[in-house]
Assembly symmetry: C2
Homo-oligomer: 147 residues x 2
DNA sequence: GTTTTTGCAAATGATTTGCATGGAT
DNA sequence: ATCCATGCAAATCATTTGCAAAAAC
């Protein structure tokens, strides 16, 4: 840990930079900032929430840039897009496999606190001609507030 | 089978009507038509595709009506909303549990042809205060065309 | 007869695009 | 020096809403 800041950064700027270079993307302050902000938030957030949090550190960061950076970071494997959330996409820097509960009424997305074996599903996908990045379980229903 | 048509209708108009009444919804020709059209299509379709197919049988069926009917039918358990498809929602009348492959590049959604045991995930969700309707696996990655 | 649903037109809200400037390689 | 990424404004696209007329109960 040669970081001089106090917040935890499991991935770190270097790892993000390396992941970007590896796919031929340029390393920009916006991309690093967005990955780092999302990691600091430690939960699923909307693009708008993320922009608000990041804009505190880089004033005129634009929304199109946030969208573009997230797509790039997703391709570099540094962030995950989370399905569900009532129309708008949610993003998460926690790339380790975990699963979600999506409320069909209010769109809230929370984490499922259990592991599920999906190796068979992933290899079946590959056998169907698909190139899987990962798999997740989505449980749909009503959250505690909406039930 | 007292149907005079030749297409197969596993659910049937009566079952749809009963499901609607059971939840206190009114039985309308639009709702029956939409459920039946979706069932006839036998795959995931967008709202727009569904409207086009249904409009052939009921000329000035409006898009807002299709949206409203799908939500009602979902609540009545007669159709499923499928996650993934690049922003827009996809719908399916095949309510039996099955799983999906979602292409992160083009948004295409195809079925996974394998069963996955999700009982543990569903009961864990219930233990977290969630009221689950069902669960599914989403494998994300690149489809055969985009890889 | 009363209440819900429909159809239409218009509003909303997330995401994307075009294009000139600035930054990374 | 070259090419990619950013910022801004405006466009796009799916979905939702308001409201009067029509249909279901």
């Amino acid at each position: 840990m040669h970081d001089q800041v106090h917040t935890p950064h499991p991935a770190g700027l270097e790892r993000t930079a390396a992941a970007l270079r590896e796919r031929g993307y340029r390393v920009t302050s916006q991309r690093l900032l967005i990955q780092r902000t999302l990691e600091d938030m430690g939960r699923h957030v909307s693009v708008e929430e993320l922009r608000e949090a990041a804009a505190g550190r880089l004033p005129n960061l634009s929304l199109p840039t946030v969208y573009a950076a997230l797509e790039t970071l997703e391709d570099a494997g540094m962030v995950r897009r989370v399905p569900g959330g009532r129309g708008r996409a949610l993003w998460d820097a926690r790339t380790a496999e975990h699963h979600h509960l999506v409320c069909r009424r209010c769109g809230a997305v929370e984490d499922l606190r259990t592991k599920v074996a999906l190796e068979a599903a992933v290899s079946a996908a590959a056998r169907q001609g698909f190139a899987p990045d990962g798999a997740e379980v989505v449980v749909h229903g009503l959250c505690s507030r909406c039930r």
